[in-house]
């Protein structure tokens, strides 16, 4: 086993060390894979580990080093991808029985771009089945665990992507965020977690949940690493007509600048004062706001009353689009097929019943109902109107403020099994959902800790930006990261 331990390195430090020949990319791959071997039995962050792909990528980096060629921006950085992203040579299971043996037929654009930027692909991350969940518990392979307390949830749905970074198994990972599925597990695990603006990153090759809400984004331990990954994966892709060409893609310099002087920061007061918010979470967000004032920003307050209806709109739009997207899993072209079907209807109905887990069935049923004859206008139509109001409410707020602050999650990581009622689980995403509905961007940045029954659990601050305002969001996030200088190493990294 390698002596090298990369769990305390940032992406930039790893690439720099490889360029200086302190260690090789092959050694980096070996160290990362050895750490997974040692720890992932407990954490279960990964559904599949891919040593061949990691070593092949490492050898490409090492041959550049040997030839004295310039290295790509993330050369030799250990990375992993949520298991809803296709990568040739891996299975893409969405942590579902129905895709348990599905072999990727092509590459997800964001994954391919990150690999082109030099990362070492370590494997595919565990997740809530088809990204339906806020705790990781709906995974058909068993939940990923929270590295801060293995008896607690890592958040979801990008559960393994968050846990892998918090456990120091990977330096950066990709997740997908439809209603908070990057930011909320980021908050639960003390990691930096970005949902970019809709259209900033191509969705091609990421198994669709709700196509009008889904967006791919990075997990990392630092804001600068998040910016590096976004620079690598963003931009127009001809395979996703909703992806856009932009010129404002200088995220690393924004993160390094960390400049908030004169920045207008808005506390979303009514969201902070909502019922069910943990007092420690609330206080931690107020403390962060006070730090912004000390750093030279002007801090004010704003209410977003319509956004409180975001959850209702989301639980129409999300399941409606999911029920449509998941119709393709019918046992004909790929995925689980039942034994000895009597006819095609029997094949569809039993293959899907056997292949989908409880939460997937719940969402498919909810969405099918909302779209069924006689109910479309009452549900989907109304929800899309509510969405317009939420977006215009954000637009008004961004006339007065550059960024908005809320908690990322009303609570810190809870224990496995604690939220058994679906609606209670859905409420965990109350702060993140409005951003998906409006389509703008937001990041989770760790802002403190809560002590619960002997465990030290991270608290997450959500910094919300306007459409394509990722540079401002990174600057604000980096400023608070630098100012608070929290020790974000989980017990699995320090022990």
């Amino acid at each position: 086993m390698s002596e090298l331990n990369l769990s305390a390195y940032t992406a930039a430090e790893i690439t720099a060390a490889i360029a200086r020949k302190e260690f090789s990319a092959r050694e980096a791959a070996g160290a990362a894979l050895a750490r997974i071997e040692a720890l992932d039995g407990d954490v279960h962050a990964l559904n599949q580990v891919t040593p061949d792909l990691a070593y092949a990528a490492a050898d490409r980096v090492d041959s550049l080093v040997a030839a004295g060629e310039p290295l790509p921006p993330l050369a030799g950085v250990p990375a992993a991808f949520k298991d809803n992203m296709n990568l040739i040579g891996t299975r893409t299971t969405c942590s579902s029985r129905i895709l348990a043996n599905y072999e990727s037929a092509y590459d997800c654009t964001a994954v391919a771009r990150l690999i082109a930027a030099g990362v070492l692909p370590l494997g595919k991350c565990n997740m809530d089945e088809f990204a339906f969940g806020s705790s990781g518990e709906s995974s058909a392979t068993g939940s990923a665990k929270n590295p801060w307390d293995l008896g607690r949830i890592p958040g979801g749905s990008s559960a393994g992507s968050a846990a892998a970074v918090a456990a120091g198994l990977a330096t950066v990972t990709l997740g997908s965020d439809t209603g908070g599925s990057i930011r909320q597990p980021g908050a639960m695990t003390g990691t930096v977690a970005l949902k970019p603006t809709y259209g900033r990153v191509s969705r091609y090759g990421c198994v669709a949940f709700a196509s009008s809400l889904d967006q791919i984004g990075p997990f990392s331990r630092t804001i600068e690493d998040s910016a590096r990954v976004l620079e690598a994966i963003c931009g127009k892709d001809s395979m996703d007509a909703t992806s856009v060409e932009r010129t404002d893609e200088q995220f690393v310099s924004a993160a390094r600048g960390a400049d908030v002087s004169g920045m207008r920061v808005g506390i979303v007061r009514d969201m902070l004062d909502m019922e069910g918010v943990s007092p420690q979470v609330r206080q931690s967000v107020l403390d962060a706001a006070a730090r912004y004032e000390a750093l030279g920003a002007t801090v004010g307050e704003v209410d977003l009353p319509t956004s409180q209806h975001g959850l209702a709109a989301y639980y129409i739009i999300g399941p409606a689009e999911a029920s449509s997207n998941l119709a393709r899993f019918d046992g004909i072209r790929y995925g689980h097929r039942v034994d000895a079907p009597t006819d095609t209807l029997d094949l569809y109905m039993r293959s899907r019943a056997e292949g989908f887990g409880t939460e997937a069935k719940r969402r498919i049923m909810l969405g099918t109902y909302a779209l069924s004859a006689g109910y479309y206008d009452a549900y989907y139509g109304q929800a899309q109107k509510a969405r317009t109001l939420i977006a215009s409410e954000f637009s008004s707020a961004f006339e007065r403020f550059d960024v908005l602050l809320t908690p990322t999650s009303p609570q810190v990581a809870w224990k496995f099994g604690e939220k058994s009622d679906p609606l209670t689980m859905y409420l965990a995403d109350i702060y993140t959902i409005p951003v998906n509905l409006a389509g703008n961007c937001a990041i989770n940045v760790p802002c403190g800790f809560a002590e619960e029954e002997g465990s030290r659990l991270p608290i997450g601050l959500q910094i919300i930006g306007d459409y394509f305002a990722e540079a401002k969001v990174f600057a604000a996030a980096a400023a608070i990261e630098r100012d608070l200088a929290l020790d974000l190493r989980s017990p699995l990294v320090t022990s």
């Binding site: 095609t344 069935k361 109902y369 139509g381 109001l389 977006a391």
Partner: protein, 100 residues
Amino acid sequence: MSLSEQEVRHVAMLARLALTDEEVTSLQGDLNSILSHIDTIRQLDLDSVPPTAHAIPVTNVTRPDVVVPGLSHRTALMNAPAEQDGAFLIPQITGGGDDA
């Protein structure tokens, strides 16, 4: 709005899900609980609001109409649960024969 057991079974047929009786019962409870929360959306005055068609304004996205490689026949079939003669094999859907 609330769903009867009959409606739950109807939606399950539309969704092509063969549910057990226990699943029908528990989904009926779950869906009604979720729908009662969703109904809070009626508190909003939405009559004069246009529905969102797309999160960001993009229109008429086109690309040059040129031939590019797509999935090969072999790749498209590689995850097929059953195949025959280079095609997906499914139960017989026409005729009344017993040899399906």
